[in-house]
Structure formats: C-alpha cells, structure tokens
C-alpha cells in the first residue's frame, strides 16, 4: 500500500448528489486511520469534483461534466449520493441540475454510461431510501434498484464499462470504512462481481449481520429483553431491533470511535436494506403474532427458535433478568471458576 502507485495509473472520481441529505459525505469525512484526504491519496483516487470538498463551482463544474460526458476525460469512478428523482411525471423537475436546464437524473444516466465504475453511495442512491418513503412524492428510486426490485434509473441489466453492476454501498448513512475500502479495492483491482451480494452490496460488510458483535448478545441468548429504550437488554422482542436479520458489520467495525446503534441504546432499523424506509409497523415496536416476534433471526428455523426461546427464557440467570431492564449494570457477573495453574 505504501508504493503510492507510481506504476499504477491514478483514478479520478466524480461525486454527484441528488435526492438525499448529504449525510453520507459527512459520515465519510469521519474516516480515520487514515483521514479521508490521505485515504484517497493512498488509493490513488483524485477528486475530479466533489460537492463538499472541491474548489470548482458553476461554469468550472459544468466544464468538468462536459469533458467527461464527451469522453475527452475518461471517468474512472462515478459516485451518486442520494436517490434518483424521477418526478413529477417522469420529468425529474423535482431536481434540476443547478446552472442548467436539465434534470439531474438525465445527467446521471449520461455519466453512468461513460464511467468505468458506478458506485451508489448510501441506501438512497442504491435503493431509493428515505426519500422514497411514504407515498414517494418525488418518485425517487435507486440507480439500479427501485426498493427491492431491480431496475431503477439504469435498468436491471446495467453494467458499467468495467463490466460490474452498480456497486451499492448502502447504509443510512454509510460507514466511512465501507466507502474507503470499496475505493481501495477498486484501485487495487480486487473487487469482482462475486464480491457483491444479491443486492449489489460489497460482501465485505454485508456477509455479516448487525447482530454479530452486538454487546447485548448474552441478553439475546437468554431472551432477557429490554422493555424500554435505554435499558440494557436485547431489543429484538419489544423495541423493533432487526439486528439479527440485517446485513452489515456495524457492531464489528463500530462508528465514530466506539459507537453503533445498539451500543447507543436504540435498535437497528435495518438502514442498509432495500425498503427499510417503509415498514408496516412503527420503527421502535416489534410486530408480533401470538406474542412471538414476526421477524425471526436470519437462517433460524421458526420451530427451533420458538423452542429455544422458551427454554432459554426459563433458564435466564437472575443477573440478566435484572440487568435487562436496568440502564446500568445492576448485578455484575459473579466470579468465574477458571482453573488456574496452581
């Protein structure tokens, strides 16, 4: 990695924003070890333009766009942050490209056609995300997905010039590491189609569940559940936590130092998944049938889950029973029975 790519061609990157909040950029700017600017340099990625970081405005920006569109300048990586806005009535007028009379969706489609790699940054750009919630007033969608359905702006069969589909770095927001490591792998040429999951997301973070590394796992094992936010117990039974079903490594790589949603005391709301923005129940409530949560842990047979849950509930240690509904550890673990060498 220290070679700094003297013999490797540097790549350029054009970053556009459409129907989103900018939060993925702000999260990316939290990259550490190294910081974002250093990480891009190490990856050999030069910013052709980024809305929050670059100097160029107005006509300078439009000149960059034009040189890429007409292929005078090859485009290595096109990133879109935010949903594609198709409304009203397919015109895209809910988001016109500033300083032009064109819709952003048309500009994005043209640029995607000339880019070596197309990267959707965040759940909005990947699947539509929160901008597509409710009645989806702006007819928002993702680059290659419309919610869980393949298609979106570019269509199901879209492949960028490198032959890869749109790389969907989903998350609301993205973890800075997900983006930086995607760029690094593109720069090193190590990211292949097989490294993407069924929704086009890099498997290095979606081959995990948010449940993995969750500090509440012991409570989960014994079904010692929190009744209210701010309590230490497992949030799956009552508080809408979907961490056992959601693909992401949030509790392995952690956020802003030592954080994650569940460590922060609130449930995983499945923000890396297509369609997370519209559930059929309030986010902070677990839907149940006959007292049993409807959403079972991924890959867990229902009968076994029910049997194990009732067994483990019966076996819940008093320590976990008390701590689950407390906001601090009330009962510390007792002394273990480790067999030390005399």
């Amino acid at each position: 990695m220290q070679e700094r790519a003297a013999d490797r061609r540097r790549m350029n990157l054009l970053w556009l924003q459409s129907g989103g909040c900018g939060g993925c950029t702000l999260s990316l700017m939290c990259a550490e070890s190294p910081d974002l600017v250093t990480a891009l340099d190490i990856a050999g990625v030069d910013l052709l333009w980024h809305p929050s970081l670059s100097e160029a405005s107005g006509t300078e920006f439009h000149a960059i766009l034009e040189s890429v569109r007409t292929r005078r300048e090859p485009l290595d990586i096109l990133c879109l942050e935010g949903s594609v806005i198709r409304g009203p009535a397919g015109t895209g007028r809910f988001h016109m490209l500033s300083g032009s009379d064109r819709s952003m969706k048309d500009a994005v489609a043209e640029l995607a056609a000339v880019a070596s790699h197309v990267v959707a940054i965040g759940t909005c750009a990947a699947f539509g995300g929160v901008t597509a919630a409710g009645d989806n007033p702006t007819d928002a969608c993702g680059l290659a997905y419309d919610g869980r359905r393949a298609g979106g702006l570019l269509g199901e069969g879209f492949r960028s010039r490198s032959g890869l589909p749109v790389i969907n770095v989903s998350g609301c927001p993205v973890h800075p590491g997900w983006v930086v490591e995607t760029f690094l792998q593109l720069a090193f040429g190590t990211l292949k189609a097989a490294d993407l999951d069924a929704f086009g997301r890099p498997r290095f973070y979606t081959d995990h569940l948010v449940h993995h590394g969750c500090t509440r796992n012991e409570f989960y094992e014994f079904k010692a559940s929190a009744q209210k936010l701010c309590q230490l117990g497992c949030m799956m039974e009552n508080l809408g936590c979907m961490g056992t079903q959601v693909h992401a490594d949030c509790n392995i790589r952690l956020w802003n130092g030592d954080g994650s949603c569940t460590r922060g005391g609130y449930p995983c709301i499945s923000c890396t998944e297509p369609g997370f923005e519209e559930l059929d129940h309030p986010f902070l409530l677990t839907p149940k049938r006959a007292g049993i949560p409807i959403g079972l842990p991924t890959d867990m047979p229902k009968a076994w889950f029910v049997a194990l849950a009732s067994l483990s509930k019966a076996a819940t240690p008093e320590r976990l029973r008390q701590n689950a509904v407390a906001d601090h550890v009330k009962v510390p673990p007792s002394r273990g029975q480790l067999r030390h060498k005399k």
């Binding site: 924003q17 939060g23 910081d35 100097e55 920006f61 922060g264 902070l284």
Partner: protein, 483 residues
C-alpha cells in the same frame, strides 16, 4: 446590464442556484433558487409520531442531530415531559458536538478555500492562504478532518453514531453513561481544545470568548504575526478584502435560544433589531408561498397550519423554498443572530458597527466554538454517572406540538399535529429557509437575496468571488431549506 445564472455552488450543503442581474460592475438584484424538492412533510403524514425521530434527522446529514432534537422537543411538548438532569446534559452535549463540528467544517472546508483561488494570487497574503486552505490539498484539510473525526467520537460514545442517531428522545437520551464514559468524553474534549488552541486560535478559548469589542478583537489580532493561528489569518484577509462591507443583511435577527435546561436557554431566545433585543412571539411566524413552486393555499400561514404540496408550474415560482417571515419582516438567523440576541459584547459591537456581513457571520461562528467547548466541558463534568438519563412518556392520540431549537445555522422549528395517534400535519422551518427564502407576496427578497445586492463583480468574472464569499458566509444548508 446582464443576467446570469450561477450554479451549482459547491462547499455549501446541498443544491443552490442563484440568478444575478449585474450592472456597472455590481450585483443589482438576486434570485435564490433551491432546486431540490424531496417532500419530507408529505412523507411524514400518517406515520406514528415517534417515527418522526427516524425520518426527520434524514432531512439533513449535516444538521441531523439538530433535526432529531427539534423532533424530540416537539414530541416532548405533546407528552408534557422533560428529561432528567443527566438527560438534558447529554442532549445538549450531543447537540453542541454537532454545532461545533459544523462550525469547524464550515470555516476550514467550505469557507476558507475561496481565498486560495487563483483570482487572489497577486495578494500579499495569498501564499499562506493557498498553502493552508487550498481545497483538498491545503495543510489544514488533513489536520481538520482528523481533529473533527476524533471530536465526533463524542457521538460514538453518547449517541451511537453520527449522523442519524436515534439516541435523542423526548425524555432524554438512550445511553446512560458511567464514570468511564464520562472520563472518555472529557478526554476527547480536552484533546479537541488543544487542537483549537494550537491551530485555530493560537490562544486560549477563554481569551477569545472574553473579547468584548471590535477594538479588543483588532488589538488581539495585532499581538502576533497574521499567520499565527487560522482565526487571525482570517481577520487579516478579511481586512484586506473589506469582507465587513460585503453581504449586508437585514439587521433583524432571530434566535430560538440554544442549549435549554428546564426553562432556561444557555444562549437566550429572542429577536434583535435596532440595537435592542425583544421577546419572540412564535405566533408572529408565517410562511409565504408567493414565489415557491407550491400550492398557494390561502396566503401566508403559521407553520402549525402549514401546507406543503408541490406545484412545479405555480405562477411566479422560482424556488422550492417557502418564505418564512416574522410579523411580515425578513429576519436573519445563525450564529451571529444567536450571539447578538444573547448579548455577547463583541458581537453586539460588531453588529452595531456593521450589521450582518460576510466577516461578522464568520467571526460569530468562531466565537461560538470558543464559547461552547468550555460549556461542553462543564456539562460533561456535571453528569452524575449511574443516574437516569431518560424518562418515558406517551403521545396522546390527539395533540399538537412545537419544537424550537438552534441548529448550527440558526433557528430550527418543527410543528406537529397528531390525530387518531397518527401524524396529521408536520411542518419544518429550517435555518436556511429563513436566510435563503425567495421573495414573499410583498416582493421582499430573502436575507441572502438582499445581502447580494451591491456585491462587486470584477472584470471577466463569471462566478463573482464576492458573491461566493457572501453566499458561503451564511453557511447555507440547502437540503434542510426545502426538505
């Protein structure tokens, strides 16, 4: 006379396009357009009220916690609850962390790089500005991104993550901390203070916060070489370019009051005009759609009864933004407004002499950093580990609520109506909605539109650099503006 459309403006949050009418080397008139509409106020209809805590932070990635806080405050007003002492301390710590990070990002990443543009290469101060602040490449970028990322560990520890946390709730926060987390937060703050005192101010935060007049500020600036500290260098460049003569606002300021404990705001709530502060009457707020691509309804309405329905062909429309007015008047919000309403002597003096302008807005943000970080240290020390940080309430099936807070960029309000346990109406007025509003039914331009009048245009300039300084002096957040 010529007309031109300038856009996009990068290094502002979100999308912005401005139409300029230029004559005799200066801007004669300006029209500010927010070109992106997402429809959050439509999306929220029919939802469970608590789901506002999921959706509204996603209005904006840079003011995410501020949106959370306003939603939590609106829910708390319906639930008639208030957080326990720890909860209030933690909420304010989390909100302050975002505000300070935003001010820092604005100064180093969004505002200062314009002074490293080639247009200034003949200026005697250029070499340092270029080396230090050049976009992406300047020495400041790496240092600041590192300091910012480490400072935002406050969020990891207290709120799970940033942006888009669910840690802020109507009755407090969701992570009760112990003595170890308290110590960790204090260490993060102390380390950030060292960065600020070494790089940004080259002096103690207390010394900066105690500056009490323009004369005191100038005397302080002259105690060292102009490149000694980034704040001092800004003052030096600002003087050379007369930034205090650029971007004059309306002279009317509004603050909802920041960092509330019980009924008291650490920075006062109120309105400031003509040299004196007065009480805010929220009934005086109304939003006008006269120049918006929105269904007009029956004229300006209070946000509690506001309507948001897009109409891209609305006659006279030129922006998706509404035009909020206070008793019909155009008011400026932001750090400058907050500090003048609070009565900080330096800002009072600067406003008395030069009003809201492209220099004073930046000074107010940096002053706020120097004021808030010591407050954060005090709040963190006041936390009682192991005591509760959250009370729980429930929202009545029929209720109305209001959440008024201060985001980094100024006054942020949420208004909610609940019927049959579901959201019947939800209206948001964000800080930049105030500052970057279009003309209202009386033809009054918004704050930025007024501030751009008279901006000099150099020969051959397509995107006048003065226009860029003025626009960015507001630290606009366009994603919040329309939402």
């Amino acid at each position: 006379m010529s007309r031109r459309i300038v856009g996009p403006f990068n290094r502002v949050e979100g999308d912005l396009e401005i139409k300029l009418e230029i004559a005799d080397g200066a801007v004669r008139e300006a029209w500010v357009n927010s070109p992106l509409y997402r429809g959050f106020e439509q999306i929220l209809l029919g939802k469970d009220p608590t789901d506002a805590l999921v959706y509204t932070p996603r209005v904006c990635g840079i003011c995410s916690v501020s949106q959370s806080m306003a939603a939590a405050a609106a829910l708390a007003s319906m639930q008639a609850i208030a957080p326990p002492p720890n909860g209030a301390l933690l909420q304010n710590l989390i909100l302050a962390a975002e505000n300070v990070a935003d001010h820092l990002t604005h100064f180093y990443v969004f505002y200062m790089p314009d002074f490293a543009r080639p247009v200034y290469e003949k200026e005697p101060w250029y070499a340092h500005a270029h080396a230090r602040f050049k976009a992406v490449e300047g020495t400041a970028a790496r240092e600041v991104l590192q300091a910012r990322a480490q400072f935002l560990h406050v969020m990891g520890t207290l709120a799970g993550r940033w942006p888009h946390t669910l840690g802020l709730q109507p009755g407090g926060t969701t992570r009760a901390i112990g003595a170890a987390e308290q110590a960790r937060v204090l260490a993060i703050l102390a380390s950030f203070r060292r960065f600020l005192e070494a790089c940004t101010f080259a002096d103690t935060l207390e010394k900066i916060a105690a500056l009490d007049s323009e004369a005191a500020l100038e005397a302080w600036a002259e105690t060292a070489a102009p490149t000694h500290g980034d704040f001092r260098h800004f003052l030096h460049v600002s003087k050379a370019l007369d930034l205090d003569r650029l971007g004059l606002g309306t002279g009317r300021f509004l603050s909802y009051g920041a960092y509330r404990f019980d009924e008291t705001h650490t920075f006062k709530r109120g309105v400031f005009e003509g040299g004196r502060a007065s009480a805010l009457h929220t009934a005086d707020i109304a939003e006008d759609h006269a120049s918006s691509w929105l269904v007009r309804g029956g004229g300006p309405s209070h946000p509690s009864r506001g309507l948001t329905l897009p109409d891209p062909d609305a006659p006279g429309g030129y922006s998706w933004c509404k035009a909020p007015r206070l008793r019909g008047a155009v008011v400026e919000v932001g750090a400058l407004a907050r500090q003048v309403v609070d009565g900080h002597p330096l800002i009072m003096d600067l406003v008395a002499k030069g009003g809201g302008n492209a220099r004073n807005r930046v000074i107010a943000r940096l002053l706020e950093i120097a004021r808030i970080v010591p407050l954060m240290e005090a709040w963190a020390r006041s936390i009682h580990p192991r005591e509760p940080c959250c009370y729980h309430g429930s929202t009545p099936a029929e209720a109305e609520g209001e959440g008024l807070i201060e985001a980094a960029r100024g006054a942020l309000g949420h208004w909610i109506q609940v019927r049959n346990g579901r959201i019947l109406n939800y209206q948001i007025i964000a800080p930049t909605t105030w500052n970057f509003s279009p003309r209202d039914m009386n033809g009054q331009p918004g704050v930025c539109e007024q501030a751009l009048i008279g901006a000099p245009v150099r020969a051959g300039e397509v995107e006048p650099v003065a226009v860029q300084h003025i626009v960015r002096s507001f630290d606009p957040c366009m994603v919040c503006t329309v939402h």
